[in-house]
């Protein structure tokens, strides 16, 4: 674990372990995050918990774009989220589970030396 100015970074996996345009879950202590490696080479990290189903499944959604904005669709009920802001762009008529908000926590990602690092939540 390394610490830069105000962020604590955790090395998670080699970039090569992430499939392009598909997600993968990672376990950081007891926090579950979903990592997405996009076609343009960037990697995004959001919470693995799906606010609409309460299950840890976000990494298994379909990656895509909306007006150029990189997105992931919740695999359970198909809500669409921005991968950059975590905001739910389309709740498709559903409400989040009690105690949850229609937004995903996002985490900073840094790929250094071919290794994906995830920082503390923004």
């Amino acid at each position: 674990m390394t610490t830069t100015a105000d962020t604590t970074w955790v090395a998670v996996c080699p970039l090569a372990d992430l499939a392009v345009e598909r997600g993968a879950a990672a376990l950081l202590g007891d926090v579950q995050v979903a990592l997405f490696r996009l076609a343009d080479g960037t990697v995004h990290a959001v919470q693995q918990l799906d606010p609409f189903s309460g299950a840890n499944v976000m990494s298994r959604g379909i990656v895509g774009t909306r007006g150029g904005e990189p997105t992931v669709a919740g695999p359970m009920y198909k809500q669409v989220y921005s991968l950059r802001s975590g905001l739910c762009l389309d709740p498709v008529g559903y409400e989040p589970r009690p105690g949850h908000e229609p937004v995903l926590v996002t985490y900073p990602v840094d790929v250094r030396g071919g290794v994906v690092h995830v920082g503390a939540a923004r």
Binding site: A25, I62, A73, M76, K78
Partner: protein
């Protein structure tokens, strides 16, 4: 007539289309104290005579029943079926039925329709000569064709059944099409100079003849039939002799030379009849006797009887309004007609023969294409008086309501082929313009269905307004108006798949196939559209797809045979379930469904599934699809579970895919004392043939061993029912949200023919259906409906059968078990890790409780109350 205060007796003679509408309209208006008794000569509920020809394919008279049959159970209505009225006593105000019973009326309505007119040709009464008016006529005709064919069964040379139709009008051509549909030859014998000479001119008739010939129907114009001759041994009709000395050998003859009003009751009751028959009525539909009205084809109104249903419906509404004290009068008849013969477009309306003083004709003819189009305009060269369309009746629907109005722009533009020369100007119909004449629905009413009643698609508009629910000829226009109105209301109706593709799924399928593309990147590069960027800092480009287009393209690529669904870039397109080849459950774990073809499983197979479920702690349940589902498998367990299953001969059941699910079967002749064929064997064969076939939505089949139908095959996309001679195949069934019974596609097929028929049906569906459209919904959209599909796959009307066959042969040849392939591929196995940095660690949040001897996900409350069985219990690692 006066408005009724206490119960008054209305008697309607005749239980046809117009009588049905009259009763329906009266009930809609709460009847005002009337009780109505309907006397019907036919033994069935009033049915859709206009759609009579479809009885050849549907064969289920119930499908022709008009309106809601529950109407006849209303206490204010009594229907006497099979109960002809034999006489009227106007003085006593009674009618006498065929059983001699006398019924009193306060008001009497004659709705006795017409009978087929048979000219006095010698031999017209021979066995084998038919008319075409009722369900019984059609059943008899069909039976005769079957009988002739059966009689030939032992002939060494196969000879087709030879049919002739006397009369080349609308009805005759429809009958000729029906003969062809029965597999008989057909020759249309027309007395006049050209076909449909009442509706279209000679030029149109010539074009029509070519189109009719293309349907395999022969045409003989200017031919008077002098005599029908009998076969010496059988006594059945066997030859037509013409006035010009010509002869035509025949096995069956249909006479379609017009109709005559059934005015015999009116005549006997001394009511005035028209010059050419029919009970004379005024514009209130009243005869000379103020207590007797006449409606429909039997009514002689404005000096003539009208052989169309729409004016009859209008008369029914007039009578109902009058019964309730209203002032309605007959609005005049729209006599526009459209031929209902699959693949032959003919329509005429208004002054088709330019008989109006000073009328001008504008003609576009393309003899090679068999197209003839004519507009009749008033002397101002703008006001539309009528038209004839042959070969391309597309402009008919939108021009017909413009009758009597000025056309915008250059009238010639309406005659040009669509897309050529700029095409016709957009017509904006006034709200008052009639669109559906069968049901008297105006453009304004259709717009209102969208704006006021919140209808958002064609189906809803049809249900709400009844427009398009009878003959269907107005449907294109109803659709156009609906679409325009929805667009105006800001409701998206484009058939674009999503923001990334302008094309519909069917268009995309063809595009991908023709352009021979094999990856998503190529496809979006070539056919994608560039959406507006959502923010300034975002790149402008076609984007990278979404959860709608990606799985759709994944499915198209799979249907076209592009290797394993998880190979290369394809993996990134797969829906959540396909990506791990299992169905995600509410807690993020998965269900595992091995294929159990036809529901047949050995005791050893059951033991394997039982042992696997036990070892991995999975909840088990028998599914509605005759197989076993194991629930609660974690993503990282899936390969281990499948390794065990594959080792014992199981394979993927594709419960996760938009693909073949199951072929449900009953036990059939193997054990059942009633079974006439091996239903299980056929189900297994079908399931193995179509397993893994990717499609627009899931596909389910069923096979029953006899007509008792224990496999509920008619609730499936394709249902097969055993007969003494082979198999009947039904298509377009559905359970789910909108249950529908599958309809008969073909009968008595051999096993080989059955496979070929289903092959083509499924491939045609896969190529042309919309995304997530089950076959039942697709059958409603597809060109020509059931008949259209039959023409394409049984008669190769589009010439694509060889292509469909080849596509299915490739699927069958290339099939491999997806799960087995993954187990052999280390790279693909990697996606099944639970965490990229801890691939075998279970999701720590999973929690279960025991119920009825098995485990299930804990509810939120139960989690709070702990203790729960958490994490990996009863687990075996291999």
């Amino acid at each position: 007539m006066t408005a009724a205060t206490e119960t008054q007796r209305l008697v309607v003679v005749g239980g046809g289309m117009v009588a049905q509408r009259l009763v329906e309209a009266l009930l809609e208006r709460e009847t005002g104290g009337w009780h109505v008794s309907v006397f019907a000569e036919e033994p069935r509920l009033p049915y859709d005579r206009v759609a009579l020809t479809s009885y050849f394919s549907a064969r289920d008279p119930e499908e022709l029943v008009l309106g809601d049959p529950a109407m006849w159970d209303d206490p204010r209505v009594t229907l006497h079926r099979d109960c002809k009225v034999e006489g009227i006593d106007r003085e006593a105000r009674t009618v006498t039925d065929r059983l001699g019973r006398v019924h009193a009326y306060d008001e009497l309505v004659l709705a006795t329709g017409s009978s087929a007119f048979v000219p006095p040709i010698p031999g017209a009464d021979l066995p084998g000569v038919f008319v075409y008016r009722t369900v019984d006529d059609v059943a008899a005709l069909r039976g005769w064709v079957d009988q002739v064919r059966a009689g030939r069964a032992d002939d060494t040379v196969e000879r087709p059944v030879r049919g002739a139709v006397i009369g080349g009008g609308l009805l005759g051509l429809e009958a000729a099409g029906a003969l062809r549909a029965l597999g008989a030859q057909a020759t249309v014998v027309q007395f006049g100079t050209h076909l449909m000479d009442v509706q279209i001119d000679l030029g149109g008739g010539e074009a029509l003849k070519r189109l009719i010939n293309d349907k395999g129907i022969a045409v003989r114009c200017s031919s008077a039939t002098e005599r029908m001759r009998a076969d010496r041994t059988s006594g059945h009709v066997s030859r037509l002799d013409f006035a010009d000395g010509g002869r035509l050998p025949v096995d069956i003859v249909v006479v379609a030379t017009g109709v005559r009003p059934r005015d015999e009751l009116a005549r006997a009751a001394d009511l005035p009849v028209g010059e050419r028959g029919g009970a004379v009525v005024d514009l209130a539909c009243r005869t000379e006797d103020p207590h007797v009205s006449a409606v429909g084809e039997v009514a002689c109104i404005e000096g003539r009887c009208i052989g169309l249903v729409a004016p009859g419906y209008a008369m029914a509404e007039v009578v109902v309004d009058r019964l309730l004290g209203g002032p309605a009068t007959f609005p005049g008849a729209d006599t526009a007609t459209k031929l209902k013969l699959q693949g032959v477009d003919v329509a005429s309306f208004g002054d088709a023969f330019a008989r109006t003083e000073g009328a001008m004709e504008l003609v576009h003819a393309d003899p090679v294409a068999g197209v003839y189009k004519k507009l009749v305009l008033a002397d101002d060269a703008r006001t539309l008086l009528g038209g004839v369309f042959v070969g391309d009746a597309a402009p008919f629907a939108s021009l017909r309501p413009m009758l009597g109005a000025e056309l915008p722009g250059d009238p010639g533009a309406f005659l040009l082929p669509e897309g050529g020369g700029g095409g016709a100007p957009q017509l904006e119909l006034p709200d008052g313009a009639g669109v559906c004449s069968c049901n008297n629905v105006s453009a304004g009413t259709i717009r209102g269905a969208v704006t006021e009643h919140g209808c958002t698609d064609l189906a809803a508009v049809k249900a709400c307004t009844r427009a398009g629910t009878s003959c269907g000829s107005c449907l294109p226009l109803v659709k156009k108006i609906t679409t325009a109105e929805l667009e105006r209301a800001g409701i998206e109706v484009s058939n674009a798949l999503c923001e990334h593709f302008e094309l519909s799924r069917a268009q995309l399928f063809d595009a991908v196939r023709v352009a021979d593309l094999h990856t998503f990147s190529e496809i979006i590069e070539r056919f994608g559209r560039v959406p507006e960027a959502a923010a300034d800092d975002l790149p402008v480009g076609p984007g990278r797809g979404c959860d709608i287009c990606k799985p759709t393209i994944a499915s198209i690529l799979a249907s076209l045979g592009n290797g394993h669904i998880l190979s290369g870039e394809q993996a990134s397109l797969q829906d959540t379930n396909d990506h791990v080849m299992a169905n995600m459950q509410k807690d993020g774990t998965y269900s595992v469904v091995p294929r159990i073809p036809g529901g047949e499983i050995t005791p050893d197979g059951l033991l394997v599934i039982g042992q696997v479920a036990k070892d991995f702690g999975l909840y088990t349940k028998i599914t509605g699809g005759q197989r076993i589902d194991m629930f609660g498998a974690r993503i990282e367990q899936l390969p281990d579970i499948w390794r065990r299953l594959v080792e014992h001969g199981f394979e993927s059941g594709h419960a996760y895919g938009k693909s073949l699910r199951t072929v449900k079967s009953c036990v059939g002749s193997t054990w059942c004392r009633y079974g006439v064929q091996d239903a299980v064997g056929m189900a297994v064969e079908l399931e193995l043939r179509y397993r893994g076939l990717r499609s627009p939505h899931k596909i389910k089949l069923g096979v029953s061993g006899c007509a008792r139908e224990c496999a509920e095959a008619r609730g499936k996309d394709v249902g097969v029912i055993a007969t003494d001679n082979g198999w009947n195949v039904y298509v377009g069934g559905n359970g789910g949200f909108t249950p529908r019974h599958a309809r008969l596609l073909a009968e008595d097929l051999s096993s080989e023919e059955l496979l070929r028929t289903i092959d083509r049906y499924l491939m045609y569906y896969i190529r042309t259906a919309d995304r997530l459209q089950r076959t039942a919904a697709w059958m409603e959209d597809v060109e020509g409906g059931l008949d259209g599909v039959r023409a394409v796959i049984m008669e190769d009307s589009l010439g694509i059968c060889a292509d469909l066959d080849a596509a299915m042969a490739r699927h069958v040849g290339e099939y491999e078990d997806e799960w087995r392939a993954v187990l052999e591929d280390r790279e693909k196995l990697r996606r099944f890790g639970s965490f990229v940095n801890a691939p075998t660690t279970p999701d720590p949040d999973l929690a279960y409780v025991a119920e009825r001897g098995q485990r299930r996900p804990a509810t939120a409350d139960e989690r709070a109350d702990a203790p729960v069985i958490a994490g990996p219990v009863l687990e075996v690692r291999v």
